[in-house]
């Protein structure tokens, strides 16, 4: 009945089931979530014509497994027909299984814990693969040798570790001459990334590249800028947020990979709706999303 | 201009439902030294707080130098020339002596900067006047002895060249030498026309240094006499409202076995080795001037402060006391000086204040049976005749004397063999006092050994079977009942002062 918004790829089927309620959950602690929220909002408008209510549930600004659990618990209590959530952490599997056992299908997007759960499917980037992808890119930029500083978000976050190890394993295998500095933890804080880069450069003035696996890559880029090393040291990180892309333009950021967050939010919601109407399953319970690598020379 | 400095008319003061001052009138002339005396809690400090502006009167008027004065703060009082040296030390240990003397103002210029040069010079001058000329005004105040800090307070008061100077028990922590120096200073000030009010518990001091002596009792001004024509007995009569009625009635008890034997007890530095015996059924009085070391002795004995040497034997068996818990287990119990700060549990009920020492005995497998606890506490409260609405009301809602009796209840429930009482009737009214004396005698009759430290001679005379006089941290002498007289006791109390530690010129911080 309606045009798909730009960036969305899945169309809704005719509703034969009567009113349907879907809970869409996301965090709200940094700009990464802006396109996610926009995708959810677009799905809400698009599905409204199909007699579907999509409620956006704010899981808060304090990212933790407990926040996910509390929100899913409350969605079960409110008897939603389906749930779209972002279970970044290990430990969220149980509550997802519980929801499914209650007859509420759950779709995970963006990132999930390392343990399997009964969710309908997981849509997202393969963090290890994305790490390897960036590892390959960095090896190319560094011409196979030199020093690479590594800053990871939280040592405890599965996705962060996978991104880190994806790159490190690839490099260890294919480019053992590249020397790794770190890894250091910045707890997603840009100001810590800034100080870490300063100190790393002090101890390694032949530093060639910095890899930031999670929050705050722009802090690292800013440090490069302030050190006057634009063009000499490049930063590689995740997500096309405005703060990050600024440094693509100014040249400190060598590459940013994104996760197509708008598309994930929209498509997953519509696919969940289609499943609720048709009852049809999916070929795989993992739906990969390609990351786009943005460099100063444009999209790769 | 009239000679009249201060006129108080019909001053009233209530704290909530407690009526503390009842229509007090008082005149002070220039150059006059007034002695203000009265029992603990008579309202002396409260009255002076009103004069100085710390408290507002509930009713009544005040005039200063002929003009009506309505003071809203200490600042107002100081602005018109009234200085007040408070009973409790109110010094700031973290600041220098000079800064303390000019506390809150520091002779700061318009830019708000402390004028260190000015305060240093002026402080040095005023230190000379109070007898501390040898101390550098830049010294951190916290390094001074208590007595020296008291003198700093006095320096703080006179540096403003007040027209009326109020001293609330200034001599309580001074050595006799320092006290004499202070009296000389007071004389000098009064010669210059300053009016002075001196609050003291030492009648001799008041008689010797004041021109008039005013007695407060229960918030009423009882008498106003010229000291030249007044005697001690008269003043005591005015203060107490009757002849000193406490009579000694320990004579009929025979001396029992030695219960407590203390040998060579020493603390970290103040106490000389102390030897002392207490027999069953005996009340031993500890007399001394303030600072003589009685509290130190009792606390060291009780394990509340570290002991460096000495042994304690109880009923013939040696006991090792290194903590209060050891002492209590062995059968000692102490009622400390300072009811409010070290005695009561302020948010607890009367019942729980009494029973706290008894929980160990009451408890079965660690549980306290509520009924037994209530019963035990209620029984004590009744025998001690504690006046209260309910045993479950907060202890802070009782009068001081009744709080003290509740603490006696606590001590009794601990079932001690030796009872240590430090100023047991401080701030207690006459009626409660005599009841407490009866309690003490009763306990002695039951065979307890009791040590009572007191600064009041009549109390010692009414209670003690034997009197141990402390001075300068050591025992100056022991008097049997027959030898006990005011003169004999006082003579001993003053005897060792001269060569006692801490009284010489060498300041404590110089060590």
């Amino acid at each position: 009945a309606q045009e798909l918004p730009e960036g969305a790829t899945v169309e809704a089927v005719e509703n034969t089931e009567g009113p349907i309620r879907i809970a869409f959950m996301a965090f709200q602690n940094n700009p990464f979530w802006t396109p996610v929220t926009e995708g959810a909002e677009a799905a809400r408008e698009y599905l409204a014509d199909f007699d579907v209510t999509v409620d956006y549930i704010d899981m808060g600004d304090n990212m933790s497994a407990e926040a996910v659990i509390a929100s899913v618990e409350s969605a079960i209590a409110q008897q939603y027909d389906g749930i779209v959530t972002v279970p970044v952490f290990d430990g969220t599997e149980r509550i997802i299984n519980e929801a499914v056992a209650e007859g509420i299908p759950v779709v995970n997007i963006i990132a999930e814990g390392s343990q399997p759960s009964d969710r309908l499917f997981f849509m997202g980037q393969d963090a290890t693969a994305a790490g390897a992808q960036l590892g390959e890119f960095m090896a190319g930029e560094m011409e196979g040798d030199g020093k690479l500083g590594v800053i990871t978000g939280l040592f405890g976050a599965t996705q962060h570790s996978q991104r880190m190890n994806g790159a490190l394993d690839y490099l260890a295998e294919n480019h053992p001459e590249i020397e790794i500095i770190g890894p250091f933890e910045n707890q997603d804080a840009a100001e810590t990334a800034y100080s870490l880069v300063q100190d790393m450069y002090t101890a390694n003035n032949d530093l060639e590249m910095v890899y930031v696996t999670a929050g705050g890559p722009f802090g690292a880029a800013k440090a490069i800028q302030d050190l006057g090393l634009t063009g000499e040291v490049g930063v590689v990180g995740f997500d096309h947020t405005p703060e990050n892309t600024t440094y693509i333009d100014s040249g400190e950021m060598a590459a940013l990979i994104d996760q197509a967050p708008f598309q994930q939010a929209f498509d997953a919601t519509v696919m969940l709706y289609n499943h609720l109407v048709t009852g049809e399953g999916f070929e795989s319970d993992y739906i990969p999303v390609e990351g786009n690598i943005l460099t100063p020379d444009g999209m790769l | 201009m009239s000679d009249l400095l201060l006129e108080l008319r019909a001053i009233e003061k209530s704290f909530g439902s407690v009526h503390v001052l009842h229509g007090v009138d008082l005149d002070v002339r220039r150059g006059e030294v007034i002695g203000l005396i009265g029992e603990n809690g008579a309202g002396k400090s409260t009255l002076m707080n009103i004069v100085a502006g710390t408290l507002a009167p509930s009713a009544g008027t005040m005039a200063f130098e002929g003009r009506p004065a309505q003071l809203r703060s200490v600042r107002d009082g100081r602005a018109i020339g009234i200085s007040f040296v408070h009973q409790e030390l109110s010094t700031v240990g973290a600041l220098s002596i000079a800064e303390n003397i000019f506390l809150g103002d520091y002779r700061a210029g318009p830019g708000g900067f402390v004028n260190y040069k000015a305060i240093r010079t002026e402080a040095a001058q005023v230190l000379e006047r109070v007898g501390l000329g040898h101390i550098d005004p830049r010294t951190e105040l916290g390094r001074l002895r208590t007595g020296e800090q008291q003198l700093i307070e006095i320096a703080k008061a006179i540096v403003e060249k007040p027209r009326l100077l109020i001293l609330d028990e200034p001599t309580s922590s001074l050595t006799p030498f320092e006290a004499e120096r202070l009296f000389a200073l007071m004389k000098e000030l009064s010669d210059q026309g300053t009016g002075l009010i001196l609050i003291t518990h030492r009648l001799e001091e008041a008689l010797a240094n004041c021109s008039r002596i005013v007695v407060l009792r229960d918030g009423r001004l009882i008498s106003d006499r010229a000291s030249a024509t007044t005697g001690r007995e008269q003043l005591i009569h005015d203060m107490v409202g009757k002849e000193a009625t406490f009579t000694y009635r320990g004579g009929e008890r025979g001396p029992g076995e030695v219960r407590l034997k203390v040998e060579g007890l020493k603390d970290k530095g103040f106490l000389a080795p102390i030897d002392l015996e207490v027999r069953a059924g005996e009340v031993v009085g500890l007399f001394g001037l303030v600072g003589a070391g009685r509290t130190e002795f009792l606390e060291t004995l009780y394990g509340a402060r570290p002991r460096t040497a000495g042994s304690v034997t109880l009923d013939g068996a040696p006991v090792a006391i290194s903590e209060v818990t050891d002492a209590v287990k062995a059968g000692l119990f102490m009622l400390p000086e300072g009811r409010k700060s070290r005695g009561i549990l302020p948010t607890h009920s009367v019942e729980r204040n009494i029973s706290i020492s008894h929980l160990g005995q009451l408890a079965r497998h660690g549980f306290v049976p509520g009924g037994a606890e209530r019963e035990a506490a209620a029984r004590r409260a009744e025998t001690l005749n504690i006046k209260m609405g309910s045993i479950r009301q907060p202890i802070t809602s009782l009068s001081g004397g009744n709080q003290q009796k509740a603490l006696f209840g606590r001590a009794l429930l601990a079932d001690p063999r030796i009872l240590l009482l430090d100023e047991p009737t401080h701030g207690v009214d006459v009626g409660a006092k005599s009841e407490i004396y009866d309690i003490i005698h009763g306990l002695a009759d039951q065979g307890l050994g009791i040590i009572v430290a007191s600064s009041e001679l009549p109390e010692i005379m009414a209670l003690a079977d034997r009197c141990v006089v402390f001075a300068g941290g050591r025992i100056a002498g022991i008097l049997s009942r027959d030898q006990m007289s005011d003169d004999a006791i006082l003579e001993l109390a003053f005897s060792l002062e001269a060569d006692a530690p801490g009284t010489g010129k060498a300041p404590a911080y110089a060590r």
Binding site: Q28, D55, Y56, I57, D58, M59, G60, D61, N62, A65, E66, I69, A70, S71, E73, S74, A77, Q78, Q79, F89, D90, G91, T92, R94, G113, Q115, L154, F155, G156, T158, S161 | Y302, A304, E323, V324, T325, V328, K329, F333, M334, S341, R342, G343, I344, L345, P346, T347, H348, R352, I356, S357, L359, L362, A363, G366, F367, V368, G370, R410, A414
Partner: protein
């Protein structure tokens, strides 16, 4: 008899517990009207479960605060206990040992806190601030920062239900009762209040202050350890990051529940109410679909309000 009941009631409601109970009631009524699912037993049980870890740890914290102490390290202790327990479980496979390791780790931290406060005379705020860092660091070192999967008893503790009722909620209720009895009926519990009320007087009355304080910190550490096991069990995963920032929530629950930082005052049911109020607030924001940012503001305002009312009533203190 009637008089006694009225007096007890009056006593209960003269305290801050009353304001909190009232706030809970108002929230309850408002939410019942605002969201049809609020009163469902499932939702209410969820709220109870969500409150349980904070409340359990807060019981220990309350004892510490009543004795005029403070324990800022509970959040880190929780994380350390969780990983210790999970680690032992994964290495030995023994559930008993795992449980003991979790509680033991909490106990050790608590005892160290207690020793620092009683033997080295470090101000509790500072001693436990240091421990906050040390315990978290040790947890990170033990795991290299990687969460350890954790199943077994812990999972049952954290996620099990008896009928519909979460086991952790039942455990909480039992613990509240036990600690209420401990605090009000036992000698040691009563000594805790006396020490907090006036430490000098308590010491002179023959109470073993050092021992009691040590015990209180040890209990607090052990309850934080239990909290860690429950939380890790609930997540089936023990992350060294678990419990980060919990200390402030726990202290807030205790304060809301009527305890005073100046010691001597506080009740175990008050702690329960405080933790429930905070969990209810979170629940309300999720149910009403209000931005969680408002929740952050509301949490702060509730603390200020609850304590401010008292402050105005009590007047100046120095």
């Amino acid at each position: 008899m009637g008089g006694r009941v009225t007096r007890s009631l009056a006593q209960v409601f003269s305290h801050r517990e009353a304001s909190i109970a009232l706030m809970i009631l108002i929230l309850f009524v408002a939410l019942s009207f605002a969201n049809e699912y609020f009163l469902s037993s499932r939702n209410l049980l969820n709220v109870g479960r969500q409150a349980s870890v904070v409340a359990i740890v807060a019981l220990g914290q309350a004892l510490v605060i009543i004795s005029r102490g403070l324990d800022l390290s509970v959040g880190s202790t929780l994380g350390l206990s969780a990983v210790s327990s999970a680690y032992v479980a994964s290495v030995t496979g023994s559930q008993e040992l795992a449980l003991a390791a979790g509680l033991g780790a909490g106990l050790v931290v608590g005892v160290l806190n207690g020793l620092m406060v009683t033997r080295i005379n470090i101000n509790p705020f500072i001693a436990t601030l240091g421990m906050l860092s040390v315990a978290r660091g040790v947890a990170l070192l033990m795991t290299g920062g990687i969460p350890i999967p954790y199943t077994g008893w812990a999972q049952w503790l954290g996620a099990g239900r008896i009928g519909d009722v979460p086991f952790s909620l039942i455990l909480l209720i039992v613990l509240v009762v036990v600690f209420h009895i401990f605090a009000t009926r036992t000698r040691i519990g009563r000594n805790v209040y006396a020490i907090g009320d006036n430490p000098k007087a308590a010491r002179l009355a023959g109470i073993n202050i050092e021992g009691t304080r040590l015990l209180v910190y040890a209990l607090c550490g052990m309850l934080a350890g239990l909290g860690g096991i429950i939380l890790a069990g609930n997540l089936a995963s023990a992350s060294p990051d678990l419990g980060r920032g919990y200390e402030l929530d726990v202290i807030a629950a205790v304060i809301l529940g009527g305890a005073a930082l100046s010691g001597g005052r506080g009740t175990m049911y008050g702690v329960l109410l405080g933790a429930l109020l905070m969990a209810l607030l979170s629940n309300a924001f999720v149910l009403l679909g209000i931005s969680s940012h408002w929740q952050v503001v509301a949490k702060g305002l509730v603390i200020i309000l609850a304590v401010g009312i008292d402050g105005l009533r009590r007047g100046r203190e120095d």
